[in-house]
């Protein structure tokens, strides 16, 4: 590997990026043919232990509202159940250069985008912990607590910070800008509160649930690239998937979606070492 070295080196590059990335003949999307993608993510090895949240600095009145059953809740950065199934992994259709992306999304996603997506604050925790929002979609930012919160959303392309009074909700229409990786949601008043948010136009995204399971519906039939991302581990390049090998720095796999069929990736295993620094 050669680095660009400082010095007398004169480099000349005259490149025209080909406009063919958007060329409709570049790939064929089978009109009206759709399939689904599923799988279940577990970890191998010892699940990291979560420490209690640090409630220091919270006002006395707020402290009471922030306890769960009278106790300080545990940090929920890595959530696995007793079967080691891993929650909050984003499964994302890869959109980098060279990746083919669908020309059309399934019509059901137009309807889904009209639904307002709720992000609640309960006992000084964002519920749910991880959300996926379509670019331009409207969110309902709710506060079920009797203390005030703000909802400070910071992603690569967007930032919003509405104040949410106690027991109230506000609507927020996110901008029409798509991010590649999730950003974070925080409350500046209660500093331990955090949540994840991916804002993107391409709807082919899923977040693994309590059982580590994910399902992405109505993907156009064809060959597409996906990758997996977790807040504490980044792109999951050590994820073991039978028959697939995550490739490159963005840990991408290529899957073939067939009309009317569900491609089940089975059990995807993430070595717990992925969470170490």
């Amino acid at each position: 590997m050669k680095r660009i070295t400082l010095g007398t080196f004169i480099f000349g590059i005259a490149i025209a990026f080909m406009a063919s990335t958007n060329d409709s003949t570049a790939f064929a999307q089978d009109e009206g043919a759709w399939g689904h993608l599923t799988g279940q993510i577990v970890i191998s090895g010892d699940a990291p232990k979560n420490a209690p949240e640090n409630l220091e600095g919270a006002a006395e009145k707020d402290r009471a509202a922030c306890l769960v059953d009278g106790k300080i809740p545990l940090d929920d950065g890595i959530v696995v159940n007793d079967k080691k199934q891993l929650r909050d992994v984003y499964v994302i259709m890869y959109e980098g250069r060279g990746a083919e992306v669908p020309e059309k999304f399934h019509p059901s996603y137009d309807e889904k985008k009209k639904v307002k997506l709720t992000l609640d604050n309960v006992n000084c925790r964002f519920v749910p912990k991880a959300v996926f929002v379509r670019a331009g979609q409207t969110m309902i930012l709710k506060n079920s607590d009797n203390v005030g919160h703000n909802c400070h959303i910071t992603t690569f392309k967007q930032e919003h910070n509405p104040n949410i009074p106690p027991n109230k909700e506000v609507e927020l229409q996110v901008d029409d800008a798509s991010d590649k990786v999730p950003g974070e949601v925080r409350c500046d008043i209660h500093k331990w509160m955090d949540s994840l948010i991916l804002i993107r136009d391409n709807p082919y995204v899923a977040i693994s649930d309590e059982t580590g399971a994910f399902r992405i519906e109505n993907i156009p039939a064809g060959t597409w690239q996906f990758h997996f991302w977790h807040k504490k581990a980044g792109y999951l390049d050590t994820l073991e998937i039978e028959g697939y090998e995550p490739e490159g720095r963005k840990a991408v796999i290529e899957v073939k979606i067939e009309n009317g069929k569900t491609l089940d990736l089975g059990t995807l295993t993430l070595p717990a070492a992925a969470f170490e620094d």
Binding site: M1, K2, R3, I4, T5, L6, G7, T8, F9, I10, F11, G12, I13, A14, I15, A16, F17, M18, A19, T21, N22, G57, A59, K61, G96, R97, G98, L141, N146, V147, G148, N150, C151, H152, F156, K157, Q158, E159, H160, N161, P162, N163, I164, P165, P166, N167, K168, V170, E171, L172, D188, I189, K191, Y235, R249, K250, E276, D277
Partner: protein
Amino acid sequence: MFSKPLHFALLLAGLIVVAGCEKSPPPNFRFNSVEWLKQERLHLSGDDKFDEGYKQEIGSILTTLFGTPDEPKFPYLLGEDDPAHDVIGLDNLKLAAGAVKSGIEGEHQGLYREHCAHCHGVTGDGAGPTAEVLNPYPRDFRLSKYKFKSTPLRQPPTDHDLMTILENGIPGTAMPSFRTLPKEELQALVEYVKYLTIRGQYERYLISEIANLDGGSIIDLSLKSETKDGEKPSDDDVEEFEDQMYTFIGEGLQEGIIPRWLKPDRKVSKVPPAPEMFDLAHASHEDFVLQGRELFFSKGNCMQCHGQTGAGDGQLGNFDDWTNDWIKTANVDPFDPETYADFIAVGALPPRPIMPRNLHLPVYRGGDHPDDIYLRVANGIEGTPMPASSALTSDEIWKIVAYVKSLPFENLSDRVELPVNDEAISNR
């Protein structure tokens, strides 16, 4: 995705090393070592370090695209038609950059170094020679965040916003007014600040990508060149090279950072006219202020940070985004200097908690016109915990502005405490 071809002809560039000068060498942009250290801590274990070669490579890419403090350039990647010409004009950059020169009638150059660099630094890193003794610290432009502007969060300020700050200064800080400079010189400085911002943000982006490179080059020129034996590069190599160019220059800069500054992409917040009752002479003005006071303690949630008396003594111990940016790195405790000594060693300024404004003092950094205060409440303040008042109507915001404007005159020894977040006032 790209729809227009990008011409990289401008990347034809020479990096000239001046050796053996008699004068002191021209200043260089300072590398963002704080971001470097932060990314090392984020992605490497123990005492592992990134390959130092990346510093050179990032420096070369930045010099190629943005030039030097004496010879600035701007990456107009679409050539003459690039809409970025509306954001930054090369003539203005040249007027603001370089060493201070005057003497010839009508020629005055080096404006940035004359007026700004001693606080904001040659690089715009907010770490000029005087920075450490100022409170608040001078702005570090490289995070691309601006507090006082007419646009919502994450929307860059307008030229008018930046011009207003240059003309008025920032009351309560060391930022003075430059009203006496000719308008053309102020405009050149506005564009130079945008240039340093875009350059600095792009540098941060490049550093943040190192961890994803697995030791490979950012842009590996050897992929594109013929071998010593005159063999043409393989298709795979050319594709990989184009992939690198796309990722780091196309996606990172051309699609990612620059478009935010283009006018069509930018929203400017409108301030609706104040209701009649906002007028001090209006018969119901006092009631209007009292309603603002109730909102301050209920739906506005203002007292949470600004405190029960509005003296700025509520929520403490927060930091602004410029500080949060690196103190949130693992194992850094902003209240324990030993945990961040290595950050200070590479140029970070000691963290200071951000203070919610004491509203009893009639000093308003973003301007004291009611419209200014309205914008601060309505949009929030970028880079700080101050949120946008999305739950309030414009009428309610005006009530809060009226109360805030009345606070310097409130008699603190004779005030009636309001219940905080009481259900009764919450639901009004």
